[in-house]
């Protein structure tokens, strides 16, 4: 026993960290479950839902569009350079399109919306928590989950796939711009190859991923905001945790969904 004594403190620390992480995951899962149950039960706050759609969907369009444009352009250049090694430059349009709609479109849109929206939701709800606005909602017979969480989660789950779809088109356009402007592709041939090799499920799977990422982003923002500690530091920590948590969860969910959708 005495030989193990030097390891006791680090092992106990590791155990505490693992238990803490598991407890946090459990609380988050319960929060997500509660959100889903409130999603199905009235009252529904339509005005708050529409405002959330505007904030999360419409106002994220510029950042998602720009990210997709540059990602699509860079992807075309990379595929061209890589394809040239075995004389396969002609695959640029189709691989750019497939890469965008299956993988980069949803992941880039998810990460950009996570940075923009999870942070703002966590900061807004966290500030409401520390200034007793959440308590005020309860005393005014309004369930904070229904009024704050459900509209945001529903809006993100519905609008992020739309952002992904728009991002896909802009990303493909980025590839087309580089392909026709820099790599010497014929415009009509580029578009024909893009369209010809693209299958419905390539696009559909990306949109489903977008919905999952939207759900993750809003749940993370709301959960960390609702559980924000007191003061500016507490809100700052909640905001950071929401963005980091949402980003990691998006990448993990992306892998899991890719396994489910495309593993043989």
């Amino acid at each position: 026993m005495s030989a193990l004594a030097p390891f006791a403190a680090p092992l106990a620390g590791l155990g505490r960290a693992v238990l803490g992480a598991l407890a946090s995951t459990g609380r988050l899962a319960i929060f997500a479950g509660q959100t889903l149950s409130h999603l199905l039960r009235p009252p529904f706050y339509i005005r708050e839902f529409l405002a959330a759609c505007l904030q999360i969907g419409w106002l994220s369009l510029p950042v998602v569009g720009l990210t997709a444009l540059f990602t699509g352009a860079a992807l075309a250049l990379q595929i061209y350079a890589g394809g040239a090694r075995f004389s396969a430059e002609a695959v640029v349009p189709s691989i750019t399109a497939i890469g965008m709609v299956r993988e980069l479109g949803p992941v880039m849109a998810g990460l950009m919306v996570a940075a923009r929206v999870a942070s703002s939701i966590a900061a807004e709800i966290g500030t409401m928590k520390v200034t007793e606005q959440i308590d005020a909602l309860v005393t005014l017979s309004t369930h904070p989950m229904k009024y704050l969480t459900v509209p945001r989660v529903l809006a993100a789950t519905l609008t992020v796939p739309v952002l992904v779809g728009v991002g896909d088109v802009i990303g493909i356009m980025g590839g087309w711009l580089v392909g026709t402007g820099r790599l010497g592709f014929n415009s009509a041939t580029y578009l024909k190859n893009t369209w010809e090799y693209l299958e419905f499920w390539d696009v559909g799977s990306g949109l489903v991923k977008g919905a999952a990422f939207g759900f993750i982003i809003a749940v993370m923002g709301c959960y960390h905001g609702m559980n924000s500690a007191r003061g500016a530091q507490g809100v700052g920590r909640a905001t950071k945790s929401a963005v980091v948590g949402a980003s990691v969860a998006i990448l993990a969910a992306n892998y899991l969904l890719t396994e489910v959708f495309f593993s043989a």
Partner: protein, 248 residues
């Protein structure tokens, strides 16, 4: 009537409430005094169900507050929060009419706005502030708007959490006067927590002092100055020396 029996609440090893017994008769204005950190706000939040007590019972007109229709229970309450707790994203009138724009008490928008403007007038604010946002108002005006929101649905019971904290003495006097007038004219049961002795004298019918997680003393406002309880005497006169320990 609100009745608390043996209410306890701990946060980890911090035993905030250690068995609070208190009765607030219908139509009376009860003020809870006590030093910072003695659990006044926690007590109030326990009654509203914002914090779940660890033990004891809280009843409203004989019915346990943790059972029954929660919306119907909360509809009987109005609350003025210490910092106002106005919703930043809504205009002043939408804040005041919040309860009237949704839920069981929902009214047409025009009617809700009219009621909100009437309540704002009642707390001394003109209709020109109705379309402003809370951030555009001074601290005193925010307190008034919060007071208007608390009384908008004409509740039977109103809670005031540190209503004069952060206000200048004149504005504090105005708020105290408004609270007294409104409680009297509405016939509401009021519970106020404060350590501002001017507020205590202006607002209360009865006073209870919370210390060490229990109600240390309770009595009529007129009895407060004459009581021999050393804790009350030290507190109301703000003496640094006495049975209540103070950190220096």
């Amino acid at each position: 009537m609100i009745e608390l029996q043996g209410v306890t609440k701990s946060f980890g090893s911090n035993h905030v409430l250690r068995g609070v017994d208190l009765t607030i008769p219908r139509g009376e204005s009860m003020v809870i005094i006590g030093g910072s950190g003695t659990g006044k706000s926690v007590l109030l939040k326990c009654i509203l169900g914002l914090v779940r007590p660890d033990g004891g019972t809280i009843t409203l007109d004989g019915q346990d507050v943790t059972t029954g229709d929660r919306d119907a229970f909360l509809a009987r309450f109005g609350m003025l929060f210490q910092g106002g707790a106005l919703f930043d994203s809504l205009t002043v009138w939408q804040n005041v009419a919040f309860r009237l724009l949704r839920g069981a008490l929902k009214r047409p928008k025009a009617e809700a706005r009219e009621i909100a403007i009437e309540k704002l007038r009642r707390v001394g604010l003109g209709p020109q502030v109705a379309d402003l946002y809370p951030a555009e108002l001074s601290g005193g005006m925010q307190k008034r708007v919060s007071l208007a929101r608390a009384i908008a649905a004409e509740p039977e019971i109103i809670f005031f959490d540190e209503p004069t904290t952060g206000l200048d003495p004149i504005m504090a006097g105005v708020i105290n006067e408004l609270i007294r007038e409104i409680v009297t004219e509405m016939g509401a049961t009021a519970m106020t927590i404060t350590h501002d002795m001017t507020s205590v004298r202006a607002i209360s019918d009865r006073v209870a002092m919370l210390h060490g997680g229990k109600v240390r003393w309770t009595g009529e406002i007129a009895e407060m100055d004459t009581t021999s309880d050393p804790y009350v005497q030290q507190f109301i006169h703000g003496r640094p020396d006495g049975p209540i320990e103070s950190l220096r």
